[in-house]
């Protein structure tokens, strides 16, 4: 299998009033294309920070992230943004849908950003795949949590990204809805041959992934 993401001695430190706080220290990871990986750990162990660094949402304080052979550290913010647009999809615990936009418009947005003229058609198709065809014109406020997360899933997969990052995708949902979302997530992952990296507390979700890594106090166990 070919390596898609690699981290070398990755670290994140922030300055606080009581001195430097090491959130992540010496993280070395290899993630292969098509693999599904769960990052687990207690609250405050640095899971979300690691996800942010892997996705290029944040810059590390030490070490580097290599994505498809390219060091993210060498790229500026705009370079990373471009890479995100081409390769990466996201699903968040708090859904992060734009409140003023309808479900369809939310899903169309990444396609529109990359200049896809078929945005509406493709977005509709993806919403159909998450069983929300009847909710196209509804805004996030009019959707339940589970429905919002399904819209978020559709938005994440609509550009057919190579990597999907999911931050506690079921964290805000009840067990039944969460299970449904997990089903969908893995189904879409399979269909699209996406590399899935997710952060979770949920052992059931972690168990669905091919591999799990555990963080404790910013270090890999």
């Amino acid at each position: 299998m070919n390596c898609l993401i690699e981290t070398r001695n990755l670290g994140k430190t922030v300055a606080t009033s009581s001195g430097a706080l090491h959130i992540l220290t010496d993280i070395n990871l290899l993630i292969n294309a098509g693999e599904s990986l769960a990052i687990i750990g207690a609250s405050g162990s640095g899971k979300s920070t690691l996800l942010g660094l892997l996705a290029g949402l944040d810059a590390p304080s030490a070490g580097e992230v290599i994505l498809q052979g390219k060091s993210l550290t060498a790229l500026d913010e705009d370079g990373r943004a471009k890479l995100r647009n081409q390769l990466i999809g996201f699903v968040f615990q708090s859904f992060q849908l734009l409140p003023g936009l309808t479900a369809l418009e939310n899903v169309m947005l990444p396609l529109e950003l990359s200049g896809n003229s078929q945005a509406k058609m493709i977005a509709t198709e993806f919403l159909e795949r998450v069983e929300l065809k009847h909710r196209l014109t509804h805004t996030p406020k009019q959707l339940s949590g589970g429905e919002q997360q399904r819209v978020a899933l559709a938005r994440a997969f609509v550009t057919q990204p190579r990597i999907l990052f999911a931050d506690e995708p079921t964290g805000n949902l009840d067990q039944k809805t969460g299970a449904h979302i997990i089903e969908l997530l893995f189904q879409l992952n399979l269909e699209n041959q996406t590399t899935l990296i997710l952060v979770t507390h949920d052992p059931v979700l972690a168990a669905r992934c091919q591999r799990s890594i555990t963080l404790e106090a910013g270090r890999l166990l």
């Binding site: 996800l51 949402l57 944040d58 995100r84 647009n85 003023g100 309808t102 990444p110 896809n116």
Partner: protein
Amino acid sequence: MNTFKLALRLLVRDYRSGELSILLIALIIAVTGSSAISLFADRLQRTMDTQAAEFLAADLVVSSSTPLVDGWQEKATLLGLKQAQTVEFTSVLIEHEQLLLAGIKAVSEQYPLRGYLKNSDSDYATEQKRLQGPEPTKCWVEKRVLSALGLKLGDQLTVGEKPLTISHIITYEPDKRGDMYSLSPRVMMNYADLPATQIIQPGSHVHYFFQYAGDPKPLLDFKAWLKPQLNPSQRILDLHEDRPEVGGALTRAERYLGLSSIVVVLIAGVAIAMTTRRYTERHFDAAAILRCLGCTQSKILSLYTIQIVVLGITACTIGCFFGWLAQALLMQVLHSLLPQQLAPPSWLSLSFGFITGMVILIGFALPPILRLQQVSALRVLRRELQPLPASAWFVYGLATSIIGILIWRYTHDLRMTTTIIGSGLGSLMLLMLLVYGLLSYSRRLLPHLNLTWRFGLQNLLQERQASISQILAFSITLMAMVLSLTVKNDLIDNWKQQLPENAPNHFALNIFTEQLPLIQQDIKNLTQNDSQYFPVVSGRLIKINDAPVQQRVSKESEGKEATERDLSLTWSATLPKDNTILGGNWWTKDPKPGLVSVEQKLADNLRIKLDDVLTFSIGSEQFTARVGSLRKVQWETMQPNFYMIFSPGSIENYAHTYMTSFYLSPQQKNFLNSLVKNYPSITVLEVDLILSQFKTILAQLTTAINYLFYLALCAGFTVLFAAVYATLDQRIYRGALMRTLGASSSLLNKTHVLEFCLLGLISGVLAIILAEVVTIVLYHYVLHLTYHPSFWLWLIVPLSAAGVISLTGYWGLRDVVKKAPLQVLQQL
């Protein structure tokens, strides 16, 4: 899909979701206000210019002591200008053995080029407007001519050698000036009859007026062509010089129009700054998601800039339309008060409203928009991440520059603009520091306060920076409103003082010393008032510090005329009422002879300084006096005013007469005939027509200014509401959380009212201090009005600000108290 299309889509989606309403409304208010005022001010200005031109009866007038020069007529015709000519001179008329020194005015067919004449067919007939003077062989006379010479309408009046039929009584002529030719009883005749009078001979003392009217461009060309050719006896008349009482009032009114526009721009700026800030903060999440989805910083900036520009164009277009409607409505309301021929609205000023809107939008919206491109993509994971606030220097610098440019555009005076901006900004910064200190100090009070007060104050203190921005916004808006109120009131008061009811409307000159007691008694009997009598000695200024005065004047110098004719010199122990000493001292304590007080403008033109020695010639004698003081004279008061006033004991020995001014009602006008009959040597100048004309224009200006103020006030209040609403999000969130934790409605209500009350109170105090500082500077440098502190404003402004702001805040937050907290939080 290109960025533009995407930006448009996002904008439409934002609009549909209601995100844009407050920003859009603020923008529309701003543009409506500025375009309504810009249109209204421009129309009024152009109407006033036309009216002002009426005061000269033309757009451009050249006065000359010689007949028309070859080539002028051809050049004016070539440029497409309309032309007219008038000739004025005094002549003694004799009828029925009665003598009368009359001011004769011969007018060509085209006169008047601007404005109109008024006459009547009989004593009791109503006046008629006329666009032409008398026909050949006819003449129009003032009513007094008829009674003085024992004539009636239809009789013959012989001017020089030419008998003319009196066809009408003249009641109004637009360009009636305050000199001897104009103020002696008027006889108006046709220009064609002039040669037949045989009065005008070489060397006769005659004033020719060549009048031109047309479009501004050819007029300017003609003026530029004419100026180098004028000989020393020819002069282009200027409203500000030749009709100072009208010119002064107009200049101030124009400045008020400018001020109103600045006030609206300022208020609009605050509204836009507040609402774009809110808009931006509500788009942080969207920007973060867009960044996650791969938008580059520059693309985010383009997306939002395009949205703001499109939003601006839409709002400006709607605003311009409403502005146009508002000014049309205003003009309709003012129709009966305004001159009948109103200048039409101009596209230029409409486009100015549009441009002003776009400039303030971009100037005030750019800093918050720039923050959006700084939003970190990581915000999707850590919502608390806020982009760095735009540099305060950048935000305030940009806003100040925009306001500065707009003020400069209105005043065309860089020094004045920098003075106003400097004083405003300086005091603002000082006051902000003070507020910062006050808020910091208040923190210490917190532990000693009860729950309501603690929550109320805490809300202000928690985000000190935000509170200071809000106070800044409220106080600038309030300051702008206070400023327009103060200036409006003082301007109108000043006009009222300048021309009180029963202001003197007649002058009597050449009263001999022996006639003085009798005339004083006669006038007092009639008017029941003690008029002031000034001694007058005719003399000419010939030397300044032993150098001939001609060396100090150039052809263009405004003081030239004063050196070419006799001046009316007077002496006085006390400083006349409307005079102010600008340099040196009045001789109240030490009235030594040989001192002179010089009018400041003349002193400037002739470069006369304190302690200079001036030589005067009176008849064949010469004498000198040292300049003891420089004086400001209010020429517009219609009181006897003097360029030179001497200390007692300086010129009493020279032959002198007296002059006075007094008020006569229209019914008392016949008194003039008995006055002239009893004392044939005296000259009476009637300025009642000029005064009533001036009063009309002041009344019109007053009404216009009042309406402008109401407009500014409306804009101010609306913006104040919008500004309060723009700050509610954080408070709603906090309120909902407090509700979740069990806070009672009454606690929440009290807290909100208290918080907004404090905000309003601080802003009100700040606003009034700022307004006072700016008013002082404005009065001193721009409007030349006397500053009076208005103590009641110090009470009213902070209290009403606290009232209005807390009521608005209470209204805006009422949902937090009534609705379920979750429902409130979901709606945020």
